[in-house]
C-alpha cells in the first residue's frame, strides 16, 4: 500500500511493509479507518520518513537503500556500530549532506532550516562557543530556533535551575567541566521544546548521576509528546527508553521493530521453566540444556513447538509455576549482528 495524502495537516508519505506498520490514507476518513484497521496500526503520519536512501561519497557507499520511519511521539532507538552510517543518515535527514538517492522527510517534507523551531539536534560531534557565557550561548541558540531573546533567556534560566547550573549562567563555557558542558548542550538542544529530538549518544562521558538526570529529561520530553530519535551504544538505555529499535550495519538495515518483536524474532525457541515435581530428563519433545531441582532451560526438539513442550511437561505431572520463552538481550542481538559474516 502506498499512500500519500495529508492526514492531520501533515503532507506525509508513508509506506507499509514487513518492517513498517504505519500508514496513512488518501481519501478515506480517519474514523472509517479507525473502525476497520487493527488498533496497533498508527494513523499519524510519521515524523521522520526515510525511503530507499542511499549515500555514496566517491566510490564508497556509506548508506545503502535504507528505509524506516519514526512515528509521532515514540522513542526510536537508532543503533549500529561505529561507522555504520548512523551519523551520515542523520546529517542527510537534516539537509547537511545531499542523498545520492532516496527520499528523506521530516514533518512530511525534506528538511529545511525554517523547520528549526521544531527540531532539537544533539550531534555526536558537539561543542559550544568556549569563549561565550552559558546564558548568552543558550539565548543565542534559542533565538536561532525562533524564540524571542527574552523568552529564550527565561527558558535557559529555567533549564539551568533544573540541572543545577543556575549559578553558572554567567560563566564562560570553557570553564565548565565536560559533564556541565554536556548539560548545557542538552539545554541548547531542547530550549525550543521541539517536536523532534535527535540525540546522538547523549550520555557519552557522563557520570551515573548525570546520566540518570539526562535520561529523566529525555523521558520528560517523551511525556510531553516529543518524537525522539535516540542514538546510543548503551543497550540498557534503549531497553529503558525505546519504543522501537533499528539496527544498521555497513549502511544497511538489519533489524526494525519493537523490542518485544525483535527479541521474539531473534530468539531460538528456548524455554525457561520453574516447576514443582520431577522433570523427566529425556523426552521426545525437548532436550534439557540446564536444570536445577526447581528450574530448567529446555530446547524444543526438531519439529516440535513450545506448546508441544508445555503439553509434554504437564503430561509428565509437572506443576509449572513459571513458563517463558527465553529471549536474547539487545546486547546479544547487537553483537550477533555485528559479528556475523555477510553471506555471499
Amino acid at each position: 500500500m502506498d499512500l500519500s495524502t495529508p492526514v492531520d495537516g501533515f503532507a506525509a508519505t508513508s509506506r507499509s511493509g514487513p518492517s513498517s506498520e504505519s500508514c496513512s490514507a488518501p481519501s478515506v476518513s480517519r474514523s472509517l479507518l479507525l473502525a476497520i484497521l487493527p488498533v496497533s496500526v498508527s494513523l499519524d503520519p510519521p515524523t521522520v520518513l526515510v525511503e530507499d536512501f542511499t549515500l555514496r561519497l566517491g566510490d564508497k557507499t556509506i548508506v545503502d537503500d535504507l528505509s524506516f520511519d519514526v512515528r509521532r511521539g515514540e522513542v526510536f532507538a537508532f543503533l549500529g556500530s561505529n561507522g555504520s552510517g548512523k551519523t551520515s543518515t542523520i546529517r542527510t535527514l537534516l539537509g547537511i549532506y545531499k542523498p545520492t538517492s532516496g527520499r528523506l522527510l521530516v514533518g512530511g517534507r525534506p528538511y529545511d532550516p525554517s523547520w528549526t523551531a521544531n527540531l532539537g539536534y544533539l550531534p555526536e560531534e558537539r561543542g559550544l562557543y568556549g569563549r561565550s557565557r552559558v546564558l548568552e550561548t543558550m539565548t543565542y541558540f534559542g533565538e536561532l530556533k525562533g524564540l524571542a531573546a527574552s523568552e529564550a533567556k527565561r527558558r535557559a534560566r529555567a533549564f539551568l535551575e533544573r540541572v543545577g547550573l543556575a549559578d553558572k549562567a554567567m560563566v564562560l563555557l570553557r570553564k565548565l567541566s565536560g559533564g556541565e558542558q554536556q548539560k548545557v548542550q542538552l539545554g541548547v538542544t531542547t530550549i525550543n521544546e521541539p517536536q523532534l529530538l535527535i540525540l546522538d549518544e547523549p550520555t557519552k562521558g557522563l557520570d551515573p548521576v548525570n546520566r540518570e538526570l539526562l535520561l529523566e529529561l529525555v523521558l520528560e520530553h517523551k511525556a510531553r509528546g516529543a518524537t525522539i530519535v535516540y542514538i546510543t551504544h548503551q543497550m540498557d538505555e534503549v531497553e529503558r527508553l525505546a519504543d522501537r529499535v533499528m539496527i544498521i550495519k555497513s549502511g544497511r538495515r538489519q533489524l526494525l521493530g519493537s523490542l518485544a518483536e525483535i527479541r521474539r524474532e531473534r530468539g531460538d525457541g528456548m524455554l525457561e521453566i520453574e516447576f514443582e515435581g520431577a522433570l523427566p530428563p529425556r523426552h521426545d519433545a525437548y532436550d534439557v540444556l540446564k536444570s536445577t531441582p526447581t528450574t530448567a532451560t529446555l530446547k524444543p526438539a526438531v519439529g516440535r513447538t513450545d506448546q508441544d513442550v508445555c503439553l509434554a511437561l504437564l503430561g509428565a505431572g509437572l506443576r509449572l509455576r513459571r513458563y517463558r520463552t527465553a529471549e536474547p538481550s539487545l546486547t546479544e542481538i547487537f553483537i550477533e549482528i555485528h559479528t556475523r559474516k555477510e553471506s555471499a
Partner: protein
C-alpha cells in the same frame, strides 16, 4: 532579513568587538605606529643635533687648498689653512687635530674632496662634509662679487606650480591626504584583522558547533551573516582608527616632526566615499577568502601558510608603489586594478591620486562586487565540503569528488 540572520550577524559583531584583543589591536597598534614613528623622527633629529654638537666641539681643523679655491675670509678659527699636508695628516692620525680637509689642485666636475678626521662615532664620520661643501660653495659665490645675487642664490625662493585639468586648476596635493590615508587604513585593517577574520571563520568548526548551526541556517546564510558582521567590525575599526589618528594628530600637531597645514586639507566627499568603498570592499573580499581558507583547515593555527600567502598578495602593490605613483594610469596600474588580489590597494591608491576615470570607477566597483561574490560562492562550496571535516584538512580529492 529574518530574526535568525540578525541573531547570527549580531553575535558575529558583538563577540569580536567585546574581545580585549580587538581593542588592543584597534587602539594600540595605530598608537604604537605613531609612537614608533615619533621615536624614529626624534632619534633622527637627535642624531643631527649630536652631529652638530660634535662639530661645535672641534678645536682645530686644517684645510689643504693647493688650488687656492677657498677664500681666506671664510677660514676662521678653528679652521685654518695648512702649509704641510703630510704634517697635518700625521697630526690627525695622532689625534692632535680634529680634521684635515683636502681640496684638489684643479677643480672640475670629476674632482673629489678628501676629509681625514679623528674618529668619534660611526654615525658622525660625515660631520665635516657640510663644512667642506659650504667652504667651497661660499668661496665660489664670493667670486661672483654681487652680494644681491649671492643672497638670491642662498634664499629659499618659494615656487608655486599650478597645473590644469579640463581647463581648471588641478587639486592641491593636500587633497590627497585624506583619500591617501585609506592606503594606511587598508594596510592596518588587514594586518590587524587577518587573525580575527580567520578565527571567526574557523570558530564554529573548532568548537564543533557547526552541525547544530547548519540545522538552523543555510551555509550561504551563515557565511553571509558572518561577512556582514565582519564588515561591521571593519567599519568600526576604520572609524576608531581614523578618529584616533585625527585626535592624536590634532593634539600633537605642534610637536610633530613635520608640519601639516590643516586648513589646506581638502575633504572631497566623492573621493573619500570611494576610498571608503574600496577599503571596505577589499576587506570583505579578503574576509570571504579567509572563509574559504578557514573551511579547508581544521584549526586557525594550521592556516598560517595560506594566510601569509594572501596577505602578501594583498600588500604586494607596496613593492611597486613607485611605478603606480609615477604612472597611475599606466599598464601596471590598470592590470593590477583588475587582478582581484591586488585590486583593493591599487584602487585605493589610484583613487587618492585622482587617476580613476568615471568609467573605471564604475567598472572597478562592479568588479570588486563580483570578486566578493565569487570568493563568497567559492567559500560556500568549501564550507559545505569542509565544515564537518573535523580534525583534518579538506583534500583535493574530496573537493573534486563526484557528488
Amino acid at each position: 532579513m529574518n530574526a535568525r540572520l540578525i541573531a547570527v550577524t549580531r553575535r558575529e559583531y558583538v563577540s569580536i568587538v567585546t574581545r580585549k584583543s580587538f581593542w588592543l589591536g584597534t587602539l594600540l597598534i595605530p598608537l604604537l605606529i605613531v609612537v614608533l614613528g615619533g621615536i624614529s623622527a626624534l632619534s633622527a633629529k637627535s642624531a643631527k643635533q649630536s652631529e652638530k654638537a660634535e662639530m661645535g666641539k672641534a678645536k682645530h681643523i686644517e684645510v689643504d687648498d693647493p688650488g687656492h679655491m677657498i677664500s681666506d675670509r671664510f677660514l676662521v678659527p678653528p679652521v685654518q689653512r695648512t702649509s704641510d699636508r703630510e704634517a697635518a695628516l700625521a697630526e690627525v692620525k695622532a689625534g692632535r687635530i680634529d680634521a684635515l680637509i683636502v681640496y684638489p689642485a684643479v677643480l672640475n666636475p670629476e674632482s673629489h674632496i678628501a676629509i681625514h678626521a679623528k674618529e668619534t662615532w660611526i654615525t658622525q664620520r660625515d660631520r665635516f662634509e657640510p663644512m667642506a661643501k659650504s667652504l667651497l660653495k661660499d668661496s665660489i659665490l664670493d667670486r661672483v662679487g654681487d652680494p644681491n645675487l649671492i643672497a638670491v642664490y642662498n634664499a629659499k625662493l618659494p615656487i608655486e606650480t599650478i597645473s590644469y585639468k579640463d581647463g581648471l586648476p588641478a587639486k592641491d596635493i593636500s587633497a590627497l591626504i585624506v583619500p591617501g590615508s585609506f592606503i594606511a587604513l587598508f594596510y592596518m585593517l588587514l594586518i590587524m584583522s587577518s587573525n580575527t577574520l580567520l578565527t571567526s571563520m574557523t570558530e564554529e568548526k573548532e568548537n564543533r558547533v557547526i552541525e547544530v548551526l547548519l540545522t538552523s541556517i543555510r551555509t550561504r546564510e551563515l557565511l553571509f551573516c558572518k561577512l556582514l558582521g565582519l564588515a561591521a567590525v571593519g567599519i568600526t575599526q576604520l572609524v576608531l582608527t581614523l578618529g584616533l589618528a585625527l585626535g592624536v594628530g590634532a593634539a600633537l600637531h605642534t610637536k610633530l616632526p613635520f608640519n601639516i597645514d590643516f586648513a589646506k586639507i581638502v575633504l572631497d566627499p566623492v573621493t573619500i566615499g570611494l576610498g571608503f568603498f574600496y577599503t571596505i570592499s577589499g576587506y570583505m573580499l579578503y574576509a570571504a577568502i579567509m572563509a574559504g581558507v578557514g573551511a579547508s583547515v581544521p584549526t586557525a593555527r594550521e592556516a598560517g601558510g595560506l594566510v601569509a600567502f594572501f596577505l602578501i598578495c594583498a600588500l604586494s602593490p607596496f613593492y611597486f608603489i613607485m611605478a603606480l605613483v609615477a604612472e597611475p594610469t599606466g599598464t601596471t596600474a590598470i592590470v593590477t586594478s583588475y587582478f582581484p588580489l591586488t585590486a583593493p590597494l591599487v584602487l585605493v591608491l589610484r583613487n587618492a591620486l585622482g587617476a580613476l576615470s568615471p568609467l573605471e570607477i564604475v567598472t572597478s566597483m562592479v568588479a570588486m562586487c563580483a570578486y566578493i561574490g565569487l570568493a563568497f560562492m567559492g567559500s560556500v562550496k568549501l564550507f559545505e565540503l569542509g565544515a564537518l571535516e573535523y580534525g583534518q584538512r579538506l583534500s583535493f580529492k574530496r573537493l573534486f569528488a563526484k557528488p
